[in-house]
Structure formats: structure tokens, C-alpha cells
Amino acid sequence: MNVLTDNLGRYGEGLLGTVELTVYASLLALVLGFLMAAFRVAPVASLRAFGTAWVTVLRNTPLTLLFFAVVLGLPRFGVVLPFQLFAVLALGCYTSAFICEAVRSGINTVPVGQGEAARSLGMTFGQTLGAIVLPQAFRSVIPPIGSTLIALAKNSAIAGSFSVTELLGTYKTLNELGYSIIWTFVWIAVGYLIVTLTISAVFNVLEKRWGVAR
């Protein structure tokens, strides 16, 4: 039990690391995910191909492998960044593939006629997507995006193996200090619960506010 009270600082640091990774990677994933979804429904064939390739490659690569590719690969091209930033890139790009597909399925729930009406009024692709299709798609993608971001929070644990301070990684130090492994992990689990339940709560509010009225 005293593993927590003795090591509040360590736990706090780890939790902060996980929260930072989750928040930054989520923002990156959301921006890239919406962009890629727009690419995948664009009237320009090369954009569609790019979006499809993005999703196919990132969604089908094990996340650990992606971390290796980013952390070991990018420096070879002269891109040397802090490990935390590498981790955000890997997590964000990986998750963006799932966000993209969630958003695209949401776009497909909007009747074709909505887009046709917008286009027949002279609205461009960007206007049609931004003002007509996405606002209506948004309502139905809130739950799947929530799930995806919760998965991201838990996936951030992999960053611990790549020299990034985060929650799961704290067990190594605590284990060496001789604390009970069970209680160490119980408090780590509680930390993850705090993060994931917060995400759930935020998305519940969003769903109440914006979800489809039935």
C-alpha cells in the first residue's frame, strides 16, 4: 500500500507523461484522421490513393514496429527529435488511421442527397464537406472516436520501452527498489483508469451535446 505514498512523485511524473503523450498524440491523430478521411472521399484520385495508402500502411503495422521505425529510422534521415516527440509522432500517425476510418464510416451515414444538394448549389468540395457532410457525420462518429482515443491512451505504454517517461515505465524503478509488484501494478492500473475514464466522460458529454437525436 505504501508504494504509492512513498513514490507519489514518480507516479505523478509517470501519469503526467502518459497524459501528455495521450493529449498530444490525440490532437495529431484527430487532425490527420479528419484530413485523411477528407482525402479518401475527395474527387481527386491521387488524394484518394494517398489516403488509402496511409490507412493501409499504418493500420496494418504493429505499433511497436512503428515505434522502431520512427525512433531508429528518422534519425538516419537527419531528423533527430526528443524521444517524447518521436513517440507522439508514432502514436498519432498510427491512431490517425483508425480515426480516419471512423470518420469515413460517419461520412457514409450521411445521405448522398445532402452532398448532391450542396454541390447543386455551387458549393465546392471543401464547402460541401465542411459545412454539410462533416457536421452531420460528426454526430455518429463520437462513440468510435472515443474508443479509439482510449486505445491510444493505453497504447502509449509502449513509449516506455523507448526511453519516454510514462506511467507503465515506473514499474521498473519501483521493482528494483523492492516494492510489491502487485501493488505497484494496481496503482499503475488506477492511473490508466483515471486517464481512460476521463476520456469516456468527455465523450459522454460530447455525445449528449451533439449525438444523433432519436
Binding site: P43, M123, Q127
Partner: protein, 247 residues
């Protein structure tokens, strides 16, 4: 044939897979003319209507709007579509916007009008179709006939050169058809150029300058309503009319 064509199709062809849905279509619609397209289902009349603003791309042939060929997908096409209003069978009002916002949206986004000016104009148009009292409701709160009249106001807000109607009354209850047809009659009297795909023979008789009868992807007859309804030339048209005018 129209002297000063606003809409002109020359040798237009289109397939859906094996189905040759438009076969060498030639059609000209003059300024201020009301052309009603009728025909059995599957004859290609809706597709024809939708090719005019390129919601359906065609495979061969040219489509001219005000003398200009339809451009490829992009900004030029968007500009051109802004000048051709379209009214759909399923209304397609923007479900997440109020009636007023539905009408004002395109003038603000596409024509770059100030919002207050667009809203004032929208209220005038809603008044004209008899729906000013419903301006702040959402489309789902209106009846089908009311929604379709909003859709007409929305198309008119862009001050289009021509209006395309793709079976505007086919999804309506019988008692709501008239309120929509009356608005369309008024537009026809005001000199709007209209292409109307419909099954409303009464409207075709009273409002159309010309009736185009389509069957199996071809224009079979293109005549005045009087001639067409009293003395159809083709067997296909005689057969069609005998079926629909029986009861």
C-alpha cells in the same frame, strides 16, 4: 427547336454497366421555356435531368449551358452549378440547419453575400412559397410539401438562370402535391427556364411549352403538350398514355 438555347445537349451517351441509359440524346431548352420530361420508369429521364448540372457525368457528347460547355469537376463547375438550381425528389434539405439557414447558406458561402442581406432575401423567398412562419424550424419538423417548397426557395435564393426539377412531387402525399405544383406554376408564369421530370400530366398540360417523352434511354417525342396528349405519334407514347390516363 429553341431559338436561343440556354441548355443544350448534343449526342449525349451514358451507360450504367451494360445498361445504355442515355442514347444519343439531343435536346435544347430555350430561355424562359418550360420543358417537361415524361416517360416510364427506367427510361433515363432523371439521369438526363441530372446530367445538366453534371451530378451525373456523361461518357460522350457535349452539354452546353448558356453557350459554355460543362467544365470538369472543380471550381469552374461549382460556379456553373450556382447558376442552375436543382430540386430533388427527396427534398435533400440540410438536416442540421434551420429552414432559414438552408435558404441563406449558399448565397453566403458561394455568392459571398453578407449574412443579414442573405437572410432578408431568404425571408422574402420563404414568404413567396408561403412558409415564412416556419423559418426557424428544422426540416424534419415540416411536412413533405413544405420541405419541397423550402427546397424551391433554396434553389431560387441563388437567382439561377434555370431550374431543374427531378420528380419534385413523387415523394409527396397526394394532398401535398398541389401546394408544390402551384409554386412551380407561378415560376413558369414568371418566365423561369425549367426542366421538369414528373409524372404530373396535369402540370405538363398546363405549364409546359414542350413535352419530351423518353423511353429506353431515347427521346421518342418532343412536341407541344397539346399535340402530345391529343395525338401522340409513337406506339410507345400511345401505350404509356393509355396506361396512365386510364383512371
Amino acid at each position: 427547336m429553341a431559338v436561343d438555347p440556354l441548355i443544350e445537349l448534343r449526342g449525349v451517351n451514358k451507360h450504367y454497366g451494360d445498361l445504355h441509359v442515355l442514347q444519343d440524346i439531343d435536346l435544347a431548352v430555350g430561355r424562359g421555356e418550360v420543358v417537361v420530361i415524361i416517360g416510364p420508369s427506367g427510361s433515363g429521364k432523371s439521369t438526363l435531368c441530372r446530367t445538366v448540372n453534371r451530378l451525373e457525368p456523361v461518357e460522350s457528347g457535349t452539354i452546353l449551358l448558356d453557350g459554355q460547355p460543362l467544365p470538369e469537376e472543380g471550381r469552374a463547375l461549382a460556379r456553373l452549378r450556382a447558376d442552375v438550381g436543382m430540386v430533388f425528389q427527396s427534398f435533400n434539405l440540410f438536416a442540421h440547419k434551420t429552414v432559414l439557414a438552408n435558404v441563406s447558406l449558399a448565397p453566403v458561402k458561394v455568392r459571398r453575400r453578407p449574412k443579414e442581406e442573405a437572410d432578408r432575401r431568404s425571408r422574402e423567398l420563404l414568404d413567396r412559397v408561403g412558409l415564412l412562419a416556419h423559418a426557424d424550424k428544422y426540416p424534419a419538423q415540416l411536412s413533405g410539401g413544405q420541405q419541397q417548397r423550402v427546397a424551391i426557395a433554396r434553389a431560387l435564393a441563388m437567382e439561377p438562370k434555370a431550374l431543374l426539377f427531378d420528380e419534385p412531387t413523387s415523394a409527396l402525399d397526394p394532398e401535398m402535391i398541389n401546394e408544390v405544383l402551384e409554386v412551380m406554376q407561378q415560376l413558369a408564369r414568371d418566365g423561369m427556364t425549367m426542366v421538369v421530370v414528373t409524372h404530373e400530366m396535369g402540370f405538363a398540360r398546363s405549364a409546359a411549352n414542350r413535352v419530351v417523352f423518353m423511353a429506353d434511354g431515347r427521346v421518342v417525342e418532343d412536341r407541344t403538350p397539346e399535340e402530345f396528349f391529343t395525338a401522340p405519334e409513337s406506339d410507345r407514347a400511345k401505350d404509356f398514355l393509355s396506361k396512365i390516363l386510364k383512371h
